[in-house]
Symmetry: C2
Subunit: 451 residues, 2 copies
């Protein structure tokens, strides 16, 4: 390796991070502006917390128990540890605890922000992503939970999803709690007092969608060997208990009070685009009541064109005890979280979905000394709201045309010495190739016909 | 300390980080939407790079030579170091190098994003802030530099700044280059070949605005003791050379070709809101040509109401060699960067500046069993675009009214058993205290009269 080579820094990005281009960002902006409009209509307050928190404030993030010390980006600052937030809920709990006396009670807030996960990156698995969250803190009313589901549905429909393209799946942590009670009673073999084992059961159930019941039953029992031959240890339940779980989770109508009440509220709202699905677990330990998951029902493909198991674009639920980690606060809460990048990815796959991307009209530069004339045309067009630029350089016309084609300019304006003399620029439509000599007064209207 | 106390996590934020509330965020959104509109009009492409880069890709950030190993948040990932970006220019250079074959040349991009500085936090000095950047890469044309100044001025005026409230100060790195040449010739005492000393000179000159000429002359010479008694080592120039520098930097008209050309372009643009100021240095080492700085001209106060030295809200300049760190690329560039949080802070201090904050109409809850009736009113109002919420809880009316006052609701709707029977809700204007019984058909119009 030569010395020169060795000194050059990397042009690559670390795994799990990506550059995002205009097409994607405009779709994201479209979604964000819809979200903000709905948030205002629903009376939520806008809040932003910083990227960093003291590590102990946001607790340990344990989506994947196999890597307990990872999951978060942390730095030591003087003598305390700081971490980049892994979600927007933990910082909200900290915010509520810090500002408990000042905030309205109940407190309704929404937040848009980047979150980071220091996980092993894989295909389509990022270590940084944008989330949108809306939460009610300080209320036990299930009307709040119901409203979140209605609201997220309104957001999705504003983003041009049709009713048949998504569904809100609903369950309750109460169902699994009752399930555990039943298992306690009947199971004499396994040690179900262990919260570790409970977690193993929840994690196994969380995989029903992805792996199906047969594999999940292995994970509830002794364990499961996957296609690659890797073995995952199971929760070690008896087959009797596995049967009890399967039977309970295949029920079609809820028996818990909380869900019965929410379903009645949905009726009052005229909201029908949901289904009861007791197999919805949601990974996070802190849920205490109803849980929701937002699923898309159309095919999503990977960049090889293969239909992929896309999973949910978000979800949430009730977490009545999270703020209490900071002390004795009366702050029962419920919230929903949407993965914006996932929603963007899915929306961009819908053929009929298009966000307008304005490309500039390019004014070619023939002579630096005529810059004043070019600036004049540019001003006329920009003042009319037309995206316009003078070619940003000093190149031959051929290169300028290559540039205009490259950036997909709709039109170029040719305004050489003769055109300036006669006061008649030539406009060239780059998709048809047609050229037209027009007066400066006609410029705006002629170009509006093309773009 | 009891065990319980010890286990409670901190409710505080690490120093240098803040929570941001709705009022500020709405002003920021207003600025951002203006920026995006101008960017489209000027033909810039929207790009987003990730928060993290390989540390070697973005180089060392040295705003303050006294703390050379700090300044950046870094951590080790497998065997390589990653850093949070400290600006948006270094990632742009990496992006251009990585995508050199694909991008249009010249390449015009804008980006909005958070940057992080791991500096010692102080009052009003944050370790995380939002920047907006626009850059031209791949052009030596000074029309690009001129356009950046015109553009930033259009953005500020769209944000309701008047011409007399801001100024673009302009200088060129060529001036200091020529200055160094003059000093080389005349100075026989100091070792001016040392780039360290050059940097010390630039850093000293960068402080003219803040410290004034007398202190800067000390910093150019032996050094300076500040009010607290701390001594800063000087650049150790001879008094002859310090005199040469002072004389050059107090000139009122530019003598460098680049600035003469830019000023001619400004004339062509009809742009007058700038001034030549050779004392504008801009800290960053990588500038090679014209440099700009955006300064506000109205008083900005701190939270104690004292007028503060606010400094610039942004700036930039030409950096023709930055992308070449990654190899041999033809990528001369120029760009501008605005500190959005600083601009938000300044705008919020202007009395006449107001961004509309919609507060929801609150529908009081008398009886959970009437929820369907409340939902009906809520739907009527929301469908009319009026921010509305059913009180999110199950409390006595007094508490509901306290809540409505706390969130500054304009109106509450009282819709108890009798009102429901007669189909006539009562609306209460919370600023006047007036109550009015109306039909459901009148609801939207009556409430629009109040909000």
């Amino acid at each position: 390796m030569t010395k020169e080579k060795k000194n050059k820094p990397s042009k690559e990005l670390p795994l799990g991070f990506v550059d995002r281009k205009e097409e994607e960002l405009l779709v994201r902006d479209f979604i964000i502006s819809n979200i903000k409009e709905v948030m205002i209509k629903y009376g939520f307050q806008y809040l932003e917390t910083p990227s960093f928190e003291y590590s102990d404030s946001i607790g340990k993030f344990l989506p994947d128990k196999d890597r307990p010390d990872e999951g978060v980006f942390s730095f030591q600052d003087e003598k305390k540890w700081l971490s980049l937030r892994y979600d927007l809920t933990a910082p909200l709990a900290r915010y509520v605890a810090k500002n408990y006396l000042e905030i309205p009670k109940p407190f309704k807030r929404y937040q848009l922000g980047t979150v980071w996960r220091n996980e092993k990156p894989g295909p389509g698995r990022f270590r940084e992503f944008l989330q949108f969250d809306a939460d009610f803190v300080g209320t036990k009313s299930l009307q709040a939970d119901a409203e979140l589901c209605v609201m997220i549905s309104e957001i999705l429909e504003k983003c041009e999803l049709r009713k048949e393209e998504y569904i809100i799946k609903i369950s309750s942590r109460k169902i699994t709690e009752e399930l555990f009670k039943k298992i306690y009673k009947s199971d004499t073999l396994s040690n179900l007092d262990s919260s570790e084992q409970k977690l193993a059961v929840l994690r196994a159930l969380d995989k029903i969608d992805r792996l199906g019941w047969d594999s999940v039953k292995q994970l509830l029992g002794k364990g499961r060997k996957d296609k690659s031959g890797d073995f995952t240890k199971g929760a070690n339940l008896s087959s009797l208990n596995i049967e009890i779980i399967e039977k309970e989770l295949k029920k079609k109508t809820p028996e818990t009070e909380d869900l019965l009440e929410i379903f009645k509220l949905f009726k009052d709202y005229g909201f029908t685009n949901f289904e009861f699905d007791p197999s919805i677990i949601r990974g996070l330990e802190y849920y205490t009541g109803p849980t929701f998951e937002v699923n898309l029902k159309f095919d999503v493909k990977n960049n090889k064109g293969q239909v992929i198991q896309f999973g949910s674009i978000g979800g949430g639920g009730r977490y009545d005890n999270l703020v209490n980690n900071f002390g004795n606060f009366d702050a029962p809460a419920t919230g929903i979280s949407i993965g914006l990048d996932r929603l963007v990815y899915a929306l961009m796959q819908k053929k009929e979905f298009k966000v307008k991307q304005s490309k500039p009209v390019v004014i070619c530069v023939f002579d630096k000394n005529s810059m004043k004339e070019y600036i004049n045309l540019q001003k006329i067009l920009r003042d009319a709201g037309i995206s316009t630029e003078i070619y940003p350089g000093e190149s031959k016309l051929k290169k300028q045309m290559e540039y205009a084609n490259k950036i997909k300019a709709p039109v170029v304006i040719l305004y050489g010495e003769n055109e300036i003399m006669s006061g008649k620029p030539t406009i060239k439509n780059l998709s048809s190739g047609n050229e037209k000599s027009i007066t400066i007064n006609e410029l705006v209207n002629e170009i509006k016909k093309i773009i």
